[in-house]
């Protein structure tokens, strides 16, 4: 391939990544069929790959792709009577606008309408009729503009698995006749929760990446963040959207500090705060402020973001406002009860107050079935027992925690802590 063709292809790929979500959304808005919209957008991309290297990139590449896809839609509708009367009617409407190129371009560039379609696309991709993993794959595909191969690499899955998942998801949306719409107010809270959950799952998948992983895995963090920022502009009046964005911005700020090169995780309190990305932290604070200004009772993402902000605000680990964090966890438990959050509260209470009280909270969690086999429980207990000078018990807890984790760097760290506690036991034994 000649270099200029290769350069043109790279430029086309860049345009695609920047524009594909809007193109697919706009087409889906016209056709009311997400699968067909994506197919036609892909067709337009193929045409671009054929034409642009020779003719150069058009002045407005996004609009060009959209127009090309629309023309394909008209052709398709003409040829395919099976698509029914509704689409035939649509075809005639499209043809009518086609007579006037200027009006057509204006119609294609109607940003506000495409914004609405983009929001509809987000809701339909995360529709509860789909399994969670299908929602994730479809969102990354339709809104993130990722290829199936990239999604597969990101989730350590086989490419055909992801491809099948996406095809099936599109089939389900069609067969269940899921409307392409922003859900009505009664359904909106639950549907929005699903969208936010999908974005946060993608973010966490990226956040769990470790040394040696394919770069596509950590890239999922930026992808989730980008989609979150996009959603925040589409739904500026939803505090939880800003809450999730704030949470992701602040968590992402710690990425440069959270792993050693060996892959061992660096605990939050031991991280080099100089490596935290202050730009992302500030963006997180701004998002948090936007959420708080909207008022209303704080939701789970906003509360988690507020907790993350407490850490971000502390210039050193010792300056952390643990009392405030403990209070925020208390509120969070009331909003979204969870033994994991209760465990986090135990840590905050121990840090704010005394380890004894924190330990008492963890005692109450010992019988919690959701935490059976969860290595953080014995790990936290080990930590608190060590702080109280109860090294023999601490050693036991760390060993138990090590036996429960499959993450090798983490296990190494826990066994090291067990050994350290065990070593601390000796002086008392000698005396």
């Amino acid at each position: 391939m000649p270099t200029d063709t290769a350069a043109a292809h790279r430029a086309i790929e860049a345009v695609w990544r920047l524009e594909s979500a809007r193109i697919i959304a706009g087409l889906a808005g016209l056709l009311r069929d997400v699968g067909l919209a994506e197919e036609l957008a892909q067709d337009a991309l193929v045409v671009a790959l054929e034409q642009w290297p020779a003719r150069g990139i058009p002045a407005n590449p996004g609009a060009w792709l959209m127009l090309t896809a629309k023309h394909r839609a008209i052709d398709r509708i003409r040829r395919n009577e099976r698509l029914g009367d509704k689409l035939n009617l649509l075809g005639r409407e499209l043809e009518a606008t086609q007579q006037d190129p200027a009006a057509e371009l204006d119609a294609v560039l109607d940003d506000e309408k495409i914004d609405d379609d983009l929001l509809r696309l987000m809701f339909i991709s995360c529709h509860p009729v789909l399994s969670t993993e299908s929602r994730i794959a479809l969102t990354l595909r339709l809104l993130g503009g990722l290829t199936t191969e990239e999604i597969a690499r990101g989730f350590l899955a086989a490419e055909p698995t992801i491809a099948k998942r996406i095809v099936r998801a599109k089939g389900t949306l069609a067969s269940k006749e899921v409307p392409f719409e922003v859900p009505p107010p009664t359904e909106r809270p639950a549907r929005l929760a699903s969208v936010l959950e999908v974005l946060y799952l993608v973010f966490n998948e990226g956040y769990s990446a470790t040394t040696g992983d394919d770069w596509m895995r950590p890239a999922l963090c930026s992808e989730a963040l980008r989609l979150g920022r996009m959603l925040a502009e589409l739904m500026p009046a939803e505090p939880e959207v800003h809450g999730l964005v704030a949470l992701m911005e602040i968590q992402a700020s710690r990425i440069p500090a959270r792993l050693r090169r060996s892959g061992t995780p660096v605990p939050l309190l031991e991280q080099n705060r100089g490596r935290w990305d202050q730009l992302l932290i500030r963006r997180g604070f701004t998002a948090l402020l936007r959420a708080e200004r909207l008022g209303g009772p704080p939701g789970p993402y906003l509360l988690q973001a507020a907790i993350a902000a407490c850490h971000a605000r502390a210039r050193t680990a010792a300056e952390t406002d643990w009392a405030k964090i403990a209070t925020l966890y208390q509120v969070l438990i009331a909003v979204a009860p969870s033994p994991v959050i209760e465990l986090n509260r135990a840590v905050a209470v121990a840090m704010a107050d005394d380890p004894e009280r924190g330990l008492q909270i963890t005692d109450g969690l010992a019988a919690e079935p959701a935490l059976a086999g969860y290595h953080h429980l014995p790990s936290v207990r080990g930590d608190l027992l060590a702080k109280l000078g109860r090294y023999a018990e601490a050693t036991e807890e760390f060993r138990r925690a090590a036996s429960l984790t499959r993450n090798i760097p983490e296990r190494t760290l826990l066994l090291q802590r067990a050994a350290d506690c065990s070593a601390m036991m000796e002086p008392t034994d000698i005396v």
Binding site: A11, I57, A59, P218, L227
Partner: protein, 120 residues
């Protein structure tokens, strides 16, 4: 260095797009288009920060002597007057956005440079 930079180094590529002075002064229409562009990039989640710069103070450090000079000190077209910090997935995306920007602005000069984190 004991850091995640190795694996997370390229994940969110940041580019600083700078605009030099000396171009024709923007009219109302360009301001409106620029607003739209900034809004669009914010909506797309790629614009991290943007701003304008005044002529400022020039610093020369030499053998322990610090000399500060208030502008103007150079041809205006050699001085950066505004910037946009972009977060994108590839250099080509940054170049594409720059292309769009300059198509809108018309004649002028500037640069697009990758920004590295503290690990650089």
């Amino acid at each position: 260095m004991d850091t995640t930079a190795e694996i997370f180094g390229d994940l969110a590529m940041r580019y600083l797009m700078t605009v030099n002075g000396g171009g024709s002064p923007p009219d109302e229409q360009l301001y409106a288009e620029m607003d739209r562009f900034v809004e669009e990039l914010t909506r797309a989640g790629v614009l991290l920060a943007t701003g304008g710069l005044d002529r400022g103070t020039h610093v020369v450090a030499s053998a322990g002597n610090i000399t500060l000079t208030d502008g103007p000190f150079a041809e205006s077209k050699e001085v950066i007057v505004s910037f946009a910090l972009l977060e994108v997935r590839s250099k080509d995306e940054a170049l594409e956005l720059a292309r769009r920007f300059w198509k809108m602005v018309g004649d002028g000069e500037g640069d697009i440079r990758q920004v590295f984190g503290p690990e650089g």
